[in-house]
Symmetry: C2
Subunit: 540 residues, 2 copies
Amino acid sequence: MMDYALLLRTFLLRSARYFPKKEIVSVYPDSIFRYTYGDYYKRVCQLAHALESLGVKRGERVASVALNDHRHLELYLGVPCYGAVLHTVNFRLPQNHLVHVLNHAEDQVIFVDEDLLLFVEMVKDQLKTVRQFVVLSHTGKMPATSIENIVLYDDLIKDFPEDYDFPIDLKETDPALICYTSATTGDPKGVVYSHRAIVLHSYAVATTFGAGESDCILHIVPMFHANAWCGPFAGVGAGCKQVLPGREVINMEKLCAMIAQEKVTFTAGVPTIWMLLYDYLEKGGKHDFSSLRNIVSGGAALPRNLLIEFTEKYNFPIKQAYGSTETTPLVTAAIPKSYMTDLTDDELYDIRCSVGLLVMGLEMKIVDDDGNEVAMDGKQWGEICLRGPWIANEYYKDPERSAQTFIDGWFHTGDVATIDEEGYVRLVDRTKDLIKSAGEWISSVDLENTIMAHPDVMEAAIIGVPHPKWQERPLACVTAYPGRTVSADDIREFLGDKVKASWWIPGDVIFLPEIPKTSVGKFNKRELRRLYADGELKSL
Amino acid sequence: MMDYALLLRTFLLRSARYFPKKEIVSVYPDSIFRYTYGDYYKRVCQLAHALESLGVKRGERVASVALNDHRHLELYLGVPCYGAVLHTVNFRLPQNHLVHVLNHAEDQVIFVDEDLLLFVEMVKDQLKTVRQFVVLSHTGKMPATSIENIVLYDDLIKDFPEDYDFPIDLKETDPALICYTSATTGDPKGVVYSHRAIVLHSYAVATTFGAGESDCILHIVPMFHANAWCGPFAGVGAGCKQVLPGREVINMEKLCAMIAQEKVTFTAGVPTIWMLLYDYLEKGGKHDFSSLRNIVSGGAALPRNLLIEFTEKYNFPIKQAYGSTETTPLVTAAIPKSYMTDLTDDELYDIRCSVGLLVMGLEMKIVDDDGNEVAMDGKQWGEICLRGPWIANEYYKDPERSAQTFIDGWFHTGDVATIDEEGYVRLVDRTKDLIKSAGEWISSVDLENTIMAHPDVMEAAIIGVPHPKWQERPLACVTAYPGRTVSADDIREFLGDKVKASWWIPGDVIFLPEIPKTSVGKFNKRELRRLYADGELKSL
């Protein structure tokens, strides 16, 4: 067989040649921009010339600090197909982390959205390698800025030829993108994605969800978040229509309008967005979900009651999936098997509330503290370990933390889970968030989900706090729905017959107006622990 | 990213671990055999031990001379996952070719179906490398045979352990299968498939047709025919139910019963079978096609009227696809694009009668005699050239013919085609079957299809024959439907306004009781040319 490298180039050329009429849509606060893969390809070619003119060399990193729009999508394919590496930056990182990742990746050029220029402006004097700033602007106006070597993206590319000979002599193991995890301890850790990993992962996404050319993908998940879960790449390869909502992603009315008007079939996002959507729907928000075929939720667990309500009340059938920055990210998806048609609704929700089955192409083992695989009984806990062609084998330029995580050819996820006899995985906790009380483990995630099933509770985060007698005890941090109240006793009573043992029930419950979150919207337990240690965690 | 090889092992382990309850069904003349992927895995493990016990070394070839059943499916995964190479033999090859391929591949062991033992018996004394014969028997009885070193498959494997540590240190470029083309000139040519090619191709098949775990695949296409188009591999990887019809594949009543009873969703085959099916249906044959989602037809063109009748009369919506032994085989599939909903029925059939769009992952160019790409206008002819990770780069141990076919990194298919502005490819002819009349080209395939649209014509094959004035002229060889008659004048009159130019109309029409076919069911034009040259081609 031919020694033909798996490169994103093949995907890009296919969309240009066979789907030049298909649409790409960017939604802005005041307008909607539409063009085709034919137009897209021409600008991606111009971008490649522009990178060349800026002296960007093969393998060098350039950063995007950007929202989800078509210019970002041009960078997504253009930079890797040119032979450079796109560093998708989470602009919500703390400032010191932002500086760290831009310097650590040695970014040569920063492509920054006009609305996000401030984030870059604030750190620009600390950047060691950036030679050029490029503003992604849909208004066409250069924002006021103190940065000197700065140019508008459209001006940068506009005079270059509309074709480009994308290199075919890249190796498939060459880097295509780099993304940093939102670190809970220490600096963010970089994960480098090869062309090979992204191409294979795109096939896996398409295969897992049965997606193809007839899909219209709405990119809710930010494009700085683990390759936007590779929807953009699979979308280009398959010739899908793509809708990019930019900052309007948190405008639920507009999001619902996009779904209805553009006939979106596929979308993916984190529970934070689904909770906003649920709130909008509960208030009678206008919507038409009839075109939707796949709605993927990942990044954190969606409470069971929400999944049920979405399905039954709104015909918005979310599928949970699991992965991480280190896994490109798709690992499992909660799709019932074809022979499960006889299950009761409750049993089906049990499956849909798992994180699902391993996708085709990976290997997984769930191991106890001694490294032995746990039984597939849905009960025993173990750490998820993974290997496969789209699983990282190191953190970028970080041998020390790499050695702690990538052991004997397996990625140790730090996620504790069970696996049932059908192969469905259920997350129990992060290894570091488990609570050890009187020598027995308590799952903080289990407790959180059980508390969040209380009708008045919007969010609940559990941390373990030191206890003189029991070593550790769970502390519940709870936020009620706006306008509702709930007491510690209410919660303890509610938990009564729902937890695995009475000693799981937290003695202490603290009420907060909001649970602190990380830059990707997860509960920031590290911050909660810090507040607790500093004596600052108290009910408000 | 991890250096994790793309091996069939990953597919095999996934089915054993996550889909042990899913079924594999073999249909025999007198019985139906059912077992699960759980059972399947155990026997594949036993087979691996058996191969070891027979001294089969890594990379060595073992042959299957077999029909489509579960034992053959065990060989399909077991042999490559063990590290050896499965040579799937077309038992319908002429005897000298059969000897050639078995010796050329240096097969160490032959696994032969009890019903096909005769084919092996006839050539056994000419085999140079075979050390062991193994009979695949569902009756459990050793057939009468003069072969000495022969054993029943079930006896061979039965005492071995039901688990096996399948090697993960194979390279993804290591050979997994080998298949020989049915040669029209010279000896058959061998194509070696790597693990990598088959894994990637399986993803491509699943992605192209939106296939997954919920599919039930009926394997109509013989498993000696280009990896059965990789349905068995994609099926194992995805955990699909698989139905293997064995010799009952030509029993249309039984085939329809399988589709209805097993709720088949996916099947693939050559037009020869679809014509048998059509005949059965036209005679009022019982059928229920409601479960079918994908019916793939390849290997030759299906006449347009048949495709329409299948769709409209029988709700049996065939999708044409294109590929060859050298391409693993999927290259294109005739699926209309999502925006083509406004097309008339006639325009949609135009698309469905093409061989389709290039699948995700390959590159194609259609070039004229000077090697320039032809315009995407649906008119200009050129030869299809391909490259990609599941396209062959050589014929096995045949540098001379390899050099004629694999040029500058492209596979020159020998197929002449047009490509329209939407990217749909239409086969015009084989380069060697084109007819040059008065300096202008005539497509034998076009002419054949036009003649076969005549209601009384069952089959038509066109060859070019020498002509003193016009260099070459088309000669039509025609078979009428049983019980019907048609004359040369009828045909010429029928062609009148349907061909591109009046000089396309054949002066000579010969009527035959049957068109000679190759071992894979294609018109044997080489034989027709030989008969003509020998003066033996005349109407009967």
